[in-house]
């Protein structure tokens, strides 16, 4: 008898299909496919229409997320788990997606000029979000890998969406290094499977609790997993791609990558390391803590010498990944580490998107750069911004001060919460390093304000072109600014929500 036919004699174990559990993901997938068809069959559809459809898809996913809010279970034989991390990350990611949609809708088109970015960016945004949301919910290493690939492939294409040479270069670098890190991750998954006999996080957690098991293979697997994740969240020493990619890609995509990839990446980082591998904390904590130290200090130190705002924001995002790693390092033994990291991600997402929105606004002020380096984001372009565009400068100040961690803006509470979790976990030395890094980071955030507020504009102010009408960007900026200030003044509700994310279901 044919071996395949033999297999059919056994009753096939079918996983129960729990549609409700993955309803938001399904909504995003359907919306993405619909948009792809709209783009293909209705080439004249304006960006407004596409953005509207994208927002509708996001709204549907958000409604389904709310519907699932109190659902706590492991679905699909442990492939997907619905817990606090999942729903918190879903909510944050969908909000980030909405802001990114507004930024993309604005694009860099001005009155009477054709837009450079193709309409496919909207479905790609939805597919990327699908991958991210799934990544945050994944509780099986294979699902982790698939979700990671969905989001990475979409982002590779989005990074190169315009014909600017810088964007093409960024996409290529991102793709090569991303594929490289995926290979690490896959190898790590394979080794973990070899060591524990499962890719399911719950079963891996059980296996790590067994003291008689051979640890070598598992530790090697954990190390490779760590490398893969550290790549994705752009932690030192795997950060090399970040500055080039953020600087080269179109600003809306860079903002989306900076905010959303971090949220999804750290959600899965927490679930795998603090959840499934929590039993091995003594083994991986030194590694993660070391990476945190390097990430905070190298990111902050290199940001100081940047002369391009997008590049500086890339280094700043590296150093913020370091603070988040402090949360991850604490998370295995202290539940506050999980909620602190989740809250940090929430506040960071809005601060950094806001900063990129200001970049997008300012890049519209001058004539487009013809030397193909990228968009206008040099610090020189910000000289005297406060006198020319007080609102944009004011928002820039809010975001920069929030990123510095000045009270009572949202970034302050986030930093505080992570420090608190670090001290609680007995990592006071790490918190002291974080404080030093915060002081270094004050230098470069302030430098932006120095340029925008304290320096006089150069050249002929008449040569500056009007930014044109920017309704979508205006709304996005207003929302990001409002959230940054409002979370700072009344963080209670969102902290409580983050607290409910502390319990990790496999």
């Amino acid at each position: 008898m044919h071996p395949l036919a033999q297999a059919t004699t056994q009753p096939l174990p079918l996983p129960e299909v729990d549609w409700r559990a993955i309803a938001p993901e399904l909504a995003l997938a359907v919306a993405g496919v619909v948009l792809l068809l709209v783009v293909a069959f209705w080439p004249r559809a304006g960006r407004g229409v596409l953005a509207g459809l994208t927002l509708a898809g996001l709204a549907a996913a958000a409604a389904l997320t709310v519907w699932n809010w109190d659902l706590e279970r492991v679905a699909f034989e442990g492939a997907v788990s619905l817990d606090g991390i999942t729903r918190y990350a879903r909510a944050v990611l969908l909000a980030v997606g909405a802001l990114a949609t507004l930024m993309v809708a604005q694009g860099d088109s001005r009155e009477g000029e054709p837009d450079d970015s193709p309409p496919e960016v909207f479905p790609l945004l939805l597919f990327a979000l699908l991958g991210m949301v799934l990544l945050a919910a994944a509780s099986d290493l294979l699902v982790v890998f698939i979700a990671l690939e969905i989001l990475s492939l979409s982002l590779y294409v989005m990074a190169g969406e315009t014909r600017r040479l810088a964007a093409q270069e960024a996409a290529m670098k991102y793709f090569l290094l991303g594929a490289f890190s995926s290979a690490f991750l896959l190898y790590g998954i394979a080794l973990c499977y070899g060591a524990t006999g499962s890719t399911n996080l719950l079963e891996i957690a059980d296996a790590t609790g067994d003291p008689t098991a051979d640890g070598t293979l598992l530790l090697a697997g954990v190390g490779l997993l760590a490398v893969g994740f550290l790549f994705k969240v752009s932690a030192v020493p795997f950060h090399m791609w970040t500055p080039d990619v953020y600087q080269g890609t179109p600003t809306p995509v860079a903002a989306f990558m900076a905010a959303a990839t971090k949220v999804a990446g750290f959600a899965v980082f927490l679930r795998v390391f603090a959840g499934a591998l929590g039993g091995l904390v003594v083994s991986w904590r030194p590694v993660i803590a070391g990476a945190a130290v390097l990430t905070m200090l190298v990111g902050a130190a290199l940001a100081v010498v940047q002369t391009d705002l997008k590049r500086m924001l890339a280094y700043s995002s590296i150093s913020h990944a370091g603070y988040l790693l402090v949360g991850v390092a604490a998370a295995a033994t202290v539940p506050a580490g999980v909620s602190a990291s989740m809250f940090y991600l929430l506040t960071y997402a809005f601060m950094v998107m806001g900063a990129f929105m200001v970049v997008q606004y300012v890049s519209r002020l001058g004539p487009p750069d013809d030397d193909a380096i990228g968009e206008r984001s040099s610090l020189e372009d910000y000289r005297g911004l406060a006198r020319r565009h007080p609102w944009a400068a004011g928002l820039l100040a809010v975001f920069m001060l929030a990123l510095t961690g000045i009270p009572p803006l949202s970034g302050f509470w986030a930093k505080y919460y992570v420090f608190l979790a670090g001290i609680e976990a007995g990592l006071t030395w790490l918190v002291v390093v974080a404080v030093i890094s915060s002081v270094i980071s004050a230098f470069f955030y302030l430098r932006v304000l120095v340029v925008a507020y304290l320096q006089e504009p150069v050249g002929d102010p008449g040569a500056e072109t009007a930014p044109g009408r920017t309704p979508a960007l205006g709304v996005a900026l207003g929302l990001a600014g409002l959230l940054t200030v409002a979370i700072g003044l009344a963080p209670e509700a969102l902290i409580a929500a983050a607290r409910s994310a502390e319990r990790i279901l496999g």
């Binding site: 036919a5 079918l14 070598t216 083994s283």
Partner: protein
């Protein structure tokens, strides 16, 4: 604590051993082999044929898209065979799930068609 270091110890020993293995193998090879370089030994290996042209050659980019589409549907058939074997046991649900699966791929093909990638011009 001993198991903690033992676990790393095995790993470290393996690392040292593997580095030593490669070093010894290549080192011994270098010591034992005769060294007679000829120009013929430096040419590119092309199954015994004389190499033609430079190593930097360009290919028609359209092949890429076709190869891509071929791979997608080739992989699809890999899923179809086992599905066909168990189809009867599962019932109608299996049919609809495969419809969705092929449907998504078909939408991709449709998109490619509308974008004009299938036209060889």
């Amino acid at each position: 604590m001993t198991t903690y270091f033992q676990a790393y110890g095995t790993f470290a020993a393996l690392l040292v051993l593997s580095i030593a293995f490669v070093a010894v193998a290549f080192g011994a090879n270098r010591l034992l082999r005769p060294n007679r370089p000829t120009p013929g030994k430096l040419t590119t290996y092309e199954s015994g044929m004389d190499p033609v042209g430079t190593t930097w050659s360009q290919t028609q980019i359209r092949y890429y898209v076709f190869a891509f589409l071929f791979v997608i549907f080739d992989v699809e058939s890999v899923f179809l065979f086992p599905w066909a074997l168990v189809f009867a046991d599962i019932g109608v649900a299996a049919f609809w799930e495969m419809v969705v699966f092929i449907g998504v791929l078909a939408i991709g093909l449709l998109y490619a068609f509308k974008k004009g990638v299938l036209r060889w011009a």
